[in-house]
Amino acid sequence: MVEASRIDVSIEHKHAPEPPPKKHPNTCPTCGSHFRDDELDAALRVCTHCDHHFPVKARKRIEQLADPGSFVEEAAELRSADPLDFFDLRSYKDRLAEAEVATGLGDALLIGSATIEEQSCELAVMDFSFMGGSMGSVTGEKFARACESAAAAGIPLVSISASGGARMQEGILALMQMPKTVCAVEELHESGCALLSVMAHPTTGGLLASFASLGDVLLAEPGALMSFAGPRVVAQTTREKLPDDFGLAESNLRFGHVDAIVRRSELRPTLARLLRLFGER
């Protein structure tokens, strides 16, 4: 939640209180249990005491889901340009360079072909640690290419989202990644291939309002925030008291916006089952 609140689209002012100090990433925000990295990895980064689902980086997610050695990455060379020469408190170019060094990724989305329990699929996996998983031109381009690869091979596309929304530093071009990815999904569907969309925490803003909501099947991880507007912007715009489960996967299931909430330990077998059902074209 600390990471999510950093990119929340809220209207603040100078005197807004500072966010609370960041806890250690391996300390469970729900029950306070602390884990060594290897312990957490062995538990698929889920708290063994309270079932809190920690964020999973894209490469780790692929390790969890794909058959060992089956993932063949595509379009790894793509990098963002800086079309607006954007500068806020720092330049976009600096932010990109830092994100690449910190994550070892070229952008917030990894794509490639893989097998899950021997079922072929294309994977598109987002990484929240790369600029809040925000969607810029490279993210949109990679997603569109993943749709095209899946269509060419006649196999389903599995997307795992974790994103705060559009990447502001690319301005209107970031917004245009929404219609771009929507058009790509339409082409994928017309080729007869399925999109299985998994929403991890958080899937908000422009991601929820584009390809992530267009899956033939929508799955969510427990506790994932899935809202178009973040809780703070809703609270400040409407002055409404928010329900405790505002925007969470559980609330979305109740209101009919997802098909199922799937615990991480069940995600691989669940996807495998769906891949067998939708199968090759």
Partner: protein, 310 residues
């Protein structure tokens, strides 16, 4: 009718934008306006000029969707409701005739006085609004009438009920519905093109933008709050993300700029409507006769190619 000087100007403009010229300038007597447009596009707008566009786009007296409908459409019939939950007054829809052509129209609608503003929720639609839009898109498709959309919203409404009714999914599906249409579609940003709530009805064959409209990924205030941690830095934010029409044209996001009366569309609703009507008719003329499958493939290809890579 077009003389040599006008043809040369049009040519220059086309080269500048690399795109078709769609400025409502097919009428005679538009030469001065064309010159003015060229000067504006060739000169990089200053930060102050960008901010003045934000203010003009939000001007209280700016014409809204129904002001244009009243002036441009004959036999207008408004359609209400999403056939599920309700009728969202922040997004209006209907059918009417524009220069003899039956069109379906979907557009955001802000209110003029305090009471109407609140009834229309300041042009911020709920999922119900986008579902009404999709219903009218289906009518257009079924009866083969072209679809026009007018975009004028600060954004989709950020509220508890809106989320519970599926705001994100509705915006996604409205875009998908537009990507599937086989009839010609023209969108025009007539005021604020605010984020997902705007693009939900803007996945069109031709996307136009009025000269003083803005189209952006986030409001200047929202961007300033997040990146500068101070909503007061909104002018800096607007200058940084460049929501003005000239920049949108340069980035390939829109296909043409529709001129406004001198001083802005609020100065003369009649003149603003005349210019918008001419640009719309031009745009639909340009799409006429394109085979359906090609039209749709082109539309998808256009959006597929948006973005800048290193």
């Amino acid at each position: 009718m077009a003389n040599d000087a006008e043809i040369r100007l049009r040519d220059r403009l086309s080269k500048l934008s690399g795109l078709d010229l769609l400025r409502g300038a097919r009428l005679s007597g538009e030469l001065e306006r064309l010159k003015r447009q060229i000067d504006r596009i060739e000169a990089e707008p200053t930060d102050e000029e960008i901010w003045s566009k934000v203010e003009l786009a939000r001007h209280e007296e700016r014409p809204y969707t129904l002001d244009y409908v009243e002036r441009l459409f004959d036999d207008w019939f408004e359609l209400h409701g999403d056939r599920g939950r309700g009728d969202d007054a922040a997004l209006v829809a209907g059918i009417g005739k524009l220069e003899g052509r039956t069109l379906a129209l979907v557009g955001h609608q802000k209110g003029r006085d305090i009471k109407e503003r609140s009834n229309r929720n300041f042009g911020m639609a709920y999922p119900e609004g986008y579902r009404k839009a999709m219903r009218v898109m289906e009518i257009a498709e079924r009866h083969g009438c072209p679809l026009a959309t007018f975009v004028d919203t600060p954004g989709a409404y950020p509220g508890v009920a809106a989320e519970q009714h599926g705001q994100g999914g509705a915006i996604a599906r409205s875009q998908a519905a537009m990507a599937r249409l086989k009839v010609p579609t023209v969108a025009c940003i007539i005021g604020e093109g605010g984020s997902g709530g705007a693009v939900a009805i803007a996945l069109a064959d031709t996307v136009l933008m009025q000269e003083n409209a803005i189209y952006s990924v986030i409001s200047p205030e929202g961007c300033a709050a997040i990146l500068w941690r101070d909503a007061g830095e909104r002018q800096k934010a607007a200058a940084a993300f460049k929501p003005d029409a000239a920049h949108c044209l340069e980035l390939g996001v829109i296909d043409g700029i529709v001129p406004e009366p001198v001083g802005g569309a609020h100065e003369s609703h009649d003149e603003a409507a005349r210019l918008l009507g001419a640009a719309l008719a031009d745009a639909f003329d340009g799409l006429e006769g394109v085979p359906q499958a090609e039209l749709r493939a082109r539309r998808r290809q256009k959006f597929r190619s948006m973005g800048v890579l290193a």
